[in-house]
């Protein structure tokens, strides 16, 4: 089992794009009992990864409940860095 933050970053190397809700949905089976798998914490983790050039924003929208959803993807360089430092 990987640390949660690693699993979040690794997830982006397997999908075209994803938002915080997608991350929570994808990881809830394995990390559902983690206190840090909450929307605010995941949003902060994604924004931190973006600030450090690991992820890149692709688009954003309001969902049906009026919540902002920001989508990110791991661009080539970001994915290479993630895979270099975080092994399976």
């Amino acid at each position: 089992m990987k640390p949660l933050n690693y699993a979040i970053l690794k997830y982006f190397t397997t999908v075209k794009e994803a938002c915080a809700e997608d991350v929570i949905e994808a990881l809830k089976d394995e990390y559902g009992n983690f206190k840090a798998l909450k929307k605010d914490a995941v949003v902060a983790a994604l924004m931190t990864a973006e600030a450090n050039g690991l992820l890149e924003e692709t688009r954003f929208e309001m969902d049906q409940t009026g919540q902002l959803r920001i989508y990110y993807h791991a661009h080539e360089e970001g994915a290479a860095t993630i895979n270099k430092y975080i092994k399976d």
């Binding site: 206190k35 600030a51 050039g53 902002l68 430092y85 975080i86």
Partner: protein, 363 residues
């Protein structure tokens, strides 16, 4: 599943802008807070090292410690006790937040090893240099160590090819000048013996922390900052206690001496209360430093943290001077002026001052 209204939706644009601004401002606030808690950590640590068994070691010295042992061994021991206390706080925090398992899992990974390396540079090397410098030259070493943002930015450029704009460079230079100004007034006034050497030793602390900020800032882009700080403090505390303190013990005559002193230090109740507090402040300070760096970029994060060169002498004045009634800790007027100058430097790093005049056009 996401059949929203699209990115051109003005409410989405406004919400996105608000979130980005909040994130950036939060990063700056966190990084500034790390400077304040760093000042508190310095003050509590210095105060703790005047209490209990430390008051004898630095005072009447009935234990008969050599000058070398007093300057270096005790400096390293002070750093070790502080970092061990700090590591305990960090582990308690990780356990409460449900992150202790991840702390263990992160240790033997590449980012985890980067954090350990950063901790060794910033812990045994820099913390000891800082404590020794503080003991030899007084609180004026604090501004010298504030060179670390400049060193961190330069190392970041060399190691990770991070870009530094002209504006950021100017801001860093302003901050460094402000730091030096705080220190400059003390030079030549009531300079203790060995002050110049103390300043040189303090420079090594700046070098170590610059390296640490650069490496650990990068590491915490992958590791949760609360886990990162637990790795940092645990590594640093253990390395200080089991490597550095025995080395200085050996240089002072015997390794046994170092363990005997460590035992006395950890069981000295009147001092440990203050070490527990300094450890708590160090934990919060380093955690917010890492977090701030990863949220708003190393250059800005480290500049905000560098306000500790003001907060260090400031809280030493409040805690040791006013609360403790110890002479020689008052703050010269230039320190206040420099603090304002430093804020200006941070502002220059954080934003283009020209934006203040044309912000309406952006909307």
């Amino acid at each position: 599943m996401n059949d929203g209204m699209g990115a051109t939706d003005p409410s989405a644009v406004a919400a996105k802008k608000k979130l980005s601004e909040q994130f950036f401002k939060k990063g700056v606030r966190i990084a500034l807070f790390s400077g304040v808690t760093y000042g508190l950590y310095s003050a509590f640590l210095t105060f703790g090292m005047t209490k209990g068994v430390w008051s004898d070691w630095y005072g009447p010295n009935t234990a008969g410690l050599s000058t070398f042992a007093i300057a270096y061994l005790l400096g390293a021991l002070g750093g070790a006790v502080n970092d061990i206390c700090s590591a305990i706080w960090a582990m308690i925090n990780a356990a409460i937040k449900g992150k202790f398992g991840d702390f263990i899992r992160c240790l033997n990974t590449a980012p985890g090893r980067m954090m350990i390396l950063a901790a060794l540079a910033g812990g045994p090397v820099a913390s000891t240099a800082y404590v020794v410098g503080l003991q030899m030259a007084g609180s004026i070493v604090t501004p010298i160590t504030a060179l670390c943002p400049a060193i961190g930015a330069i190392l970041g450029r060399i190691l990770f090819k991070q870009k530094i704009s002209k504006r950021v460079t100017i801001g860093i230079i302003i901050c460094v000048i402000a730091s030096f100004l705080i220190g400059s007034t003390s030079i030549g006034n009531d300079a203790p013996d060995g002050m110049f050497l103390g300043l040189c030793i303090a420079f090594f602390a700046a070098l170590g922390w610059g390296f640490e900020g650069c490496i650990a800032g990068y590491g915490t882009s992958m590791i949760d900052s609360e886990i990162g700080i637990t790795i940092r403090q645990a590594t640093s505390g253990l390395a200080n206690l089991f490597i550095l303190v025995p080395i200085f013990g050996k240089m002072s005559g015997s390794v046994k001496l170092s363990f005997a002193l460590a035992g006395q230090a950890f069981t000295s109740g009147p001092a440990m209360i203050w070490f527990a507090l300094s450890g708590l402040c160090a934990f919060v300070s380093f955690m917010t430093w890492y977090k701030g760096n990863s949220m708003c970029g190393a250059a800005l994060g480290m500049a905000c943290n560098a306000t500790y060169s003001f907060w260090g002498p400031f809280f030493c004045w409040i805690i040791l001077g006013i609360f403790g009634g110890i002479d020689g800790w008052s703050l010269p007027p230039i320190a206040w002026i420099s603090a304002i100058l430093m804020m200006l430097g941070i502002l220059v790093i954080a934003m283009n001052p020209m934006d203040l005049f044309r912000k309406k056009e952006v909307n």
